[in-house]
Symmetry: C2
Amino acid sequence: MIKIGILGYGNLGRGVEAAIKKNGDLELAAVYTRRAPESLVIKTEGVPVKSAAELELGKENIDVLIICGGSATDLPEMTPKYAALYNVIDSFDTHANIPVHFASVDAAAKAAGKVGIISCGWDPGMFSVNRLYGSAILPDGRDYTFWGKGVSQGHSDAVRRIDGVIDARQYTIPVPEALERVRNGENPELTTREKHTRECFVVAEDGADLARIEREIKEMPNYFADYDTTVHFITAEEMARDHSGLPHGGSVIYSGETSDGTKHVIEYSLNLDSNPEFTGSVIAAYARAAARLNAEGKTGAMTVFDIAPAYLSTHSADELRAHFL
Amino acid sequence: MIKIGILGYGNLGRGVEAAIKKNGDLELAAVYTRRAPESLVIKTEGVPVKSAAELELGKENIDVLIICGGSATDLPEMTPKYAALYNVIDSFDTHANIPVHFASVDAAAKAAGKVGIISCGWDPGMFSVNRLYGSAILPDGRDYTFWGKGVSQGHSDAVRRIDGVIDARQYTIPVPEALERVRNGENPELTTREKHTRECFVVAEDGADLARIEREIKEMPNYFADYDTTVHFITAEEMARDHSGLPHGGSVIYSGETSDGTKHVIEYSLNLDSNPEFTGSVIAAYARAAARLNAEGKTGAMTVFDIAPAYLSTHSADELRAHFL
């Protein structure tokens, strides 16, 4: 059994917990929290909730620590810190800072003889793997990534910060015509606006100026200004009834030629009822890989690019060749 | 530059040749043939065509030999033989015999200090990788593989062997309702007949008994008896005009749950204008991996399961993390 520790029990931590239940060779050893441990009730019976401070002695009986923190401030500090003590894995997704994060995790993990897998999940993660495979197979081509239809938690949070907004949910939606053109192998140039639309469901305070809220959403730089955005004002009851899930998904489409006019289109697409449970499931499979790679003597930081598919599977190499090849 | 030799210049050999042209770090060093070398004109200028016999001295200046032979009789003999002399790669696709083929290539390659990648292409190959990734991420789920719409060369050949048939082309077509149910996450039980239909275009001899030909096709065991098959008789001109390409494709769909009622669907799909050019492109990317792995000191037989994605790419690890993750 591979003993897993989860640090952080938000949406992603609970998604990892659900994934561990589906993997017979993975065992949840403990959940670690920066909150008061007694304030947390987890779904797995008989598993202790401990203070994150306990991790710092480096004596916890875990094979891999899955760090479920935010990319802005948590992971840049936590992942290298714990990579000096345990095999670790995170879902760091601030693309521009990946080189710096990789370097700091690599240094800590190498010095400690541990493995640290960063930026694991579906994007970055499985989508990245498919961008790489596509570009290697069809070098005379290009990739397109579409997200959705699904809830963007970052955009939902941005709407919630607007004065007069009680709650909000933002869906990212690929533009069907753009998807169609890419799937046809046209390799079009597409602007941000041509690729995705955004749809917001907002619960506003009684008497709030709805026109102002809508304008503030649509004009918000980076988040909405470059998109066609639709805003719907709904009640708290409608929000709870119709928008409580966190579905997501999307497609990586790679399209290229192998000779004049001979086109090929590769599409990897996901349709997910729960973004955190699927992300947690990808991370659980790579946690297995982290434990195995470290047992083989590998150390340092890695990404999904560096790990052969066989390391993710519970099946032996013989079984994989006989049944999956 | 990685120097590539191609052994066998049929559809697949020409597909590999096209792929090499698209990869700046790959160089076609020579084409080897069991026919008279002077009878072969290849598309790449300035590259020699040599007798396959020349390979047997083990002195050819190539980094990887791509063996483009048939799985029934060529590859079981050729791949281990040449793995004792060069890094090799093949597209062996007789699923039931993969374990035996792997073992014989492994023994030869290990003894010679070479790498031998077997069963490379899209199925087996990229489809296999996606079956593995899917099963590792969603262990409580199942995979479905659909082929087509595309030309099955084996089925086309089987129809051509019928008395009175001059030429034939067989298309394998997924049943839309089955695809739809799988994409919806229903995880249905599907019979062979429910998954695919077969459509044949046949040029018959003048005066041939068309009813008999059609009956012989539809009742042919293994190839057609378990499917709903449609047969169209066409002229040689129509065959040349409408059916000269070798398009193919298909989908691997993995569908599973991460908690009660929470479903996820992963789909990897290909839409290929030319089956041999795409297969050749996958093989070219893995030939790069073979050269690199051997340069690192790795030896023995491998499959797509054993090779980390980064080995396929011309980009450095830093570039991959910065731009593809």
